[in-house]
Point group: C2
Chain length 311, copies 2
């Protein structure tokens, strides 16, 4: 296809290529962090546990959260090698949450991106420990000098990740989600749960980029707002996909929310209204990053990609 | 009893009183960290998940690891309020590991200190999330300014905890332990597993006290060596207790290692040889802390207490 005749498609193609290049870099960084060589004061990395961690992490994911860290930091003028480490730490936390969420006692999923989940490929005990170890490794990576030379930045990265991943963020959101299964939920309850379960880590991805770049309070606020919008859009798109996509497109069982009578904003408000909300979220994302002018192009494209993704 | 006639018993009584006072302070700090008020950027603390975390943490434990942090820091002249926070963070990690180790997929224990374990009192999903959230909270606490004013110290605390709790430390040790069940183990394998599963966190407790006090490299090395010895003594005493104590004394099922045909250093070397090893470890602990003269009295008493405890 020529650039002249299909500018929009080409822009999308360019974006997806950029996302893929970034995912490749993250994969390389994750691979180097998940070698069998002990780090620092570590004594030994037991092979089976390490293999389970690798299985849960090196899975060809899109690496959206790492991409957000990298691109926010870049927009704010920061482009050091440590950014890839911080981005990989966040991905470790995302992957730990998938491993634990897939467990029989939680969502009981056998497939993830078309591959057996960690407790299926290994065993439950190993899956629990692999999740625990990935969560722990994330903080190891963030606190290491190689991630950022300033200890203030490293401590801020750790604090933000802990608060967004713990009881008041992602883990708390998963708890709310499990608690509400099998009963009706209000829109407010669903919003709260999603803001914690999915939104917190996506917002943190943007915040972390600003922390790494030592951005001003004003920049940090704009970027964090953008992160909140991204989080909302991501979840709405996910809920839409559960209704409209096939299992082959998703690499996991489609229609699972419907089957489990799980209320989502789509089941409450309908597909059309949800698409409208997504469109207005993209406009809001553009307004939020307007002060950064064309430096924000990649992040705006990311918002569009998240809202319109087909898998 | 009078101090004159029973000096040794009185010294022990004084030590146990000091340990109990410290445990009370830790309990108070943990209680304040586990309130329903969100910290920092946290959004909401779901009540059931919070209750499960409280159940797993506020259990009247002896708080040996926190005590080691506090007393090492004190010996090195550091006695700020933040020490109790760092000590509580370490206890959160210890308690998370107990919650996950007790799960049906792991050691499948119903009782812990005479109370139902978290997955029994709540459910498996909540127990998994409570452990995850306690691990995460530990890093939140350590990275917070209230723990230490210097970001370098906070980052060093986080790094040390992560490396000692993760795949190369505690979690890795649990993985090795599970892997070896039902087959013979060599003494070297048992030592490696114990050094990671139990030893790493006890050694870190001592290291963390030195990090908080910003100790010299020489002091740090001595204290870390002491922590390694404490770790060895703790595990040997534990294995001895499994053979010699009753379930009532332990608050959990006694003889579990024997029942599960789990080789320990006691089953390999016998009770008498193990007691001898314990005695020589105490002598080594005393030598290691000799440079600190009588400032080390409490830590020496701790080593004796760990080696001789009856429950």
């Amino acid at each position: 296809m020529s650039q002249e005749s299909q500018p929009e498609k080409t822009q999308t193609a360019n974006f997806e290529e950029r996302l893929q290049n970034s995912a490749d870099q993250i994969e390389t960084t994750l691979r180097s962090l998940l070698t069998d060589a002990p780090r620092g004061t570590e004594q030994l990395r037991p092979p089976k546990l390490l293999a389970a961690m690798q299985h849960g992490v090196l899975n060809g994911g899109k690496r959206i959260r790492p991409f957000l860290i990298v691109e926010v930091a870049r927009m704010l003028g920061y482009d050091q090698a440590g950014v890839l480490r911080a981005a990989s730490a966040l991905e470790c936390v995302h992957c730990y949450s998938l491993i634990h969420d897939d467990l029989p006692a939680m969502d009981d999923d056998d497939l993830r991106r078309g591959k057996p989940t960690v407790h299926v490929a290994f065993d439950e005990a190993t899956a629990i420990l692999a999740g625990d170890s990935l969560l722990t490794l994330a903080f190891d990576i963030l606190a290491d000098e190689a991630t950022h030379q300033k200890a203030e930045v490293r401590a801020a990265l750790v604090l933000g990740l802990a608060q967004n991943a713990g009881i008041g963020g992602m883990a708390g959101g998963q708890s709310l989600d499990i608690e509400a299964e099998g009963r009706d939920r209000t829109e407010a309850e669903i919003r709260q749960m999603q803001a914690m379960k999915t939104g917190a880590l996506l917002r943190y991805a943007c915040e972390a980029g600003a922390i790494l770049a030592e951005a001003s309070a004003k920049e940090q606020a704009a970027v964090t707002r953008f992160g909140t919008i991204i989080g909302l859009a991501f979840q709405l798109a996910d809920d839409l996909l559960d209704v409209t996509a096939t299992s082959a497109q998703l690499g996991k069982t489609a229609g699972k929310d419907l089957q489990s009578h799980k209320a989502t904003l789509v089941s409450l408000n309908g597909v059309d209204a949800t698409r409208e909300t997504l469109n207005s979220l993209i406009l809001e994302a553009e307004e939020t990053l307007a002060p950064f002018a064309n430096k924000a192009d990649v992040l705006i494209a990311t918002a569009r990609f998240i809202a319109n993704r087909q898998h």
